[in-house]
Symmetry: C2
Subunit: 480 residues, 2 copies
């Protein structure tokens, strides 16, 4: 685009979207910079306040051949919501899509604009005793959560975003900016193709989510948490099964934390209490949580007493699964879990992976992968943590900032190639559990998606939403 | 097709699929007859035993222009799995697709052929203490459950088939009978479009499901059930919320049963115990069930005692929600619930609907609809029952077999038009909650699906699986 053409587009779009609705020329860094990686450049930033405005904005860009990058909370880690460095892409930010907020208390649903932050949504729902039950460290907006189908730490109990989405308004990338209203809060509705499923997890490549209807759950009324030290890696799946047997639906989280990740948190996150004996961090720790959404009844055993009783039974049953168990206030225990991300981010040069496995494969992958990395890349420290209850692993590798290997521009790619090949080819795992596809992992989508599926994706994209949209390219041929 | 051409196809397919794999000429009634409606005629019945054979069979039919009707347990109620009366369609039965059965106990999943009956699958899983948690009156096969995304009576606790499907093998209707292997039992995997979602609930129109990976749940270890008589229709949503607040995740079913449906069951199903005082059936009864997947612990209050205690509190709290509550063995209480279908089927000429609403709208719909029907069709008795916890309503209308109105060939269509217009247009409900789309309700798909969505469906079908497949037509143009 020539500067004159860009100026024309800015004028035309500002007339449609208003002063607040079109940002250009000034400081766009907040929109152009990824949460962890990348610094791109946008032609301009469109900020529609309604679905109709979003439709106008998309239609304008499609008709003028301007690629659109939908952007939500911009907390993603795979460069899925930021523009590339060409300056020719337009950002469509959802940050003004917050006018709609309608709770249906009997249906246990909320209709909300896609620009609502998860934290703000849940703060507003608290008065009704309800919440949208996706538990994440970050503070994303709803549109991005839907586009990446986030799971988080309570997946075990509540499922992912997909399982909790009952309706979507979506703008397609066609000449009309066609608006689809998909679903209306019904929990059972099988009247043809369930179109909204196509837009969940596909990172904005097929359409821009502008509004949604979400399932809500009752806020937990009782909770208890513990830090378990398994006797060995082999004991971990057995512990998970034993806890599920004993607690049933009351088990609400079962998270794995490597000693390295915990040590990084203690080193880099202030005011974090070290609960371990003599401060000695074990090699691997499990955070287990119980929760109930009903209030405790008179005479009922409190959850922490129940937890202690069951742990004592597991301890004594002779299977030798546990080598230690620490009780403590759930807030303290979760503070440690939530500090892990910040810890590893500040521990050195971070190479991060968002993997998932069948539940029985997680510990085997960790053991095999660590041995391979020690051989190939001995300068890397493995600081993994994740969601044992659903097989998710945030596999983080740290190199000292001053290590000479980092000077090699191919170093990170070599590391990624090795980890992905083991995770995907040897263990049948996922190379993107809940972060979606962006420019950062596009090459691995191209490598690990069968050709038949990539062909289908290209045909599907062409059939329903043909213009360039989003950072992820679900086809064989990259569009300019 | 000429008889000679049919004979040629039979010969060619028998050579590929074997003697057991191709039925023709003899008695095909079990495959040609719908569970409740319709008697069609098939050119022949293909019974592949593997995904590779299913692919060969579909490819053969596509290349020779023979429309294929995938058929699973054939328990559907909308003519979605039977051929039309032309004799030109081929049935592809899944009934030999049962060789695959692999349980992964740590992952809590099973890989199974699509020809497994739900009842047989759960019988085999019982030894592991696991089950596929979709509770239905019928005995469907997995392929059909996936194609219609059934929900059933424990939706409230476990969700629908979609929420419990982690992988699918699918054969597309193209020249190659392309096989897609979608998902491998991972619970988190967001690496592009989630293709399997397209085949769940779309009634075989986009592809034939041949194999699946399903989420399993621990078998309930504790249960209690009650029959509640609400003081009024308005009390029903308040009772649902009160029970959810009190019991949280332990509430596993909340089913509505009209007095008329219960009376039909007593009249037509032998050996059914009448638990009501003096045998007098109330106007509306709710079946509420509690269940826990963990075993009861020493000293813990049994679920039936807990249920009685909470009901006493609801009774005494002054909101006047309950006019009666009957405790009883869960088997007896469920026997009544499961007898309702047989009862209404034998009570006269049945016109059945499978509707769903937002939870707060169910009782309002019932009240409004009954008044409208009394005016327009006074010969009809409303025998509704359904799933209040998720808004599903099996809305059944009964006319005396000898009523003269039945002689009018347009009578049933007039009744359907009225009910659907109220359910969909006035209450924003679904005209097919969990039965899917077949020839029986195709006209309502065409009427109530927005044109933009029908156009998209036609383009999607053309792009990924272009040949005629299934009884449902998700496009504007019917293919011959």
């Amino acid at each position: 685009m020539t500067p004159e053409a860009v100026a024309d587009h800015i004028g035309a779009l500002r007339a449609q979207l208003g002063e607040k609705g079109l940002l250009a020329g000034g400081d766009l860094a907040a929109y152009e910079t990824g949460a962890r990686y990348d610094q791109g450049r946008a032609a301009f930033v469109m900020r529609p306040a309604t679905t109709a405005e979003a439709s106008q904005a998309v239609a304008y860009c499609v008709r003028h051949g301007i690629p659109v990058i939908p952007q939500s909370g911009n907390t993603g880690l795979v460069s899925g919501s930021t523009p590339d460095e060409t300056g020719s892409q337009a950002i469509l930010s959802l940050d003004r899509m917050t006018a709609v907020f309608e709770v249906d208390a009997v249906n246990q649903t909320v209709r909300a604009g896609a620009g609502w932050r998860l934290s703000a949504l849940n703060a507003r729902l608290e008065a009704d005793g309800l919440f949208f039950p996706i538990d994440l460290g970050a503070v994303p907006m709803l549109g991005g959560m839907i586009a990446t189908n986030t799971g988080g730490s309570r997946f075990l109990r509540y499922g992912d975003v997909r399982a909790n989405t009952l309706g979507l308004d979506v703008v397609l990338a066609d000449d009309d900016g066609t608006v689809l209203e998909l679903g209306s809060g019904l929990r059972k509705d099988n009247t043809g193709i369930d179109w909204k499923q196509l837009f969940i997890g596909s990172v904005g490549a097929l359409g821009v989510v502008t509004e949604c209807i979400l399932n809500l759950e009752a806020l937990p009324q009782q909770g208890a948490a513990t830090l378990l030290v398994p006797s060995s890696a082999d004991a971990v799946p057995a512990l998970l099964i034993a806890m599920e047997r004993a607690f049933g639906d009351t088990l609400s989280a079962f998270e794995g934390m490597s000693g390295n990740a915990i040590r990084a948190a203690f080193a880099h996150v202030p005011h974090l209490r070290n609960p371990f004996e003599n401060g000695e961090v074990p090699d691997f720790v499990i955070l287990a949580e119980l929760a109930r959404s009903n209030a405790a009844r008179a005479g009922e055993q409190p959850l922490d007493a129940l937890l202690e009783e069951v742990l004592a039974e597991i301890w004594e049953n002779g299977d030798d699964l546990l080598s230690d168990a620490l009780m403590g206030p759930p807030e303290d225990i979760w503070a440690l879990r939530h500090a892990l991300s910040d810890g590893v981010k500040n521990a050195g040069k971070l190479i991060a992976f968002d993997l998932a496995f069948r539940r029985g494969d997680v510990m085997d992958f960790l053991s095999y992968m660590k041995a391979e990395l020690a051989k190939a890349f001995p300068m890397l420290t493995v600081c993994d943590f994740g969601h044992l209850g659903d097989g998710g692993v945030h596999f983080n590798l740290i190199a000292p900032h001053d290590h000479p290997a980092l000077a090699d521009p191919g170093f990170e790619t070599s590391v990624r190639d090795l980890v992905f090949s083991v995770a995907v080819e040897r263990f049948g795992g996922s190379f993107s559990a809940e972060h979606g596809i962006g420019r950062k992992n596009q090459a691995y989508y191209d490598r690990y998606t069968p050709e038949a599926i990539r062909d289908l994706a290209a045909r599907l994209k062409q059939a329903i939403s043909p213009a360039p949209l989003g950072a992820a390219i679900f086809s064989n041929t990259r569009t300019k």
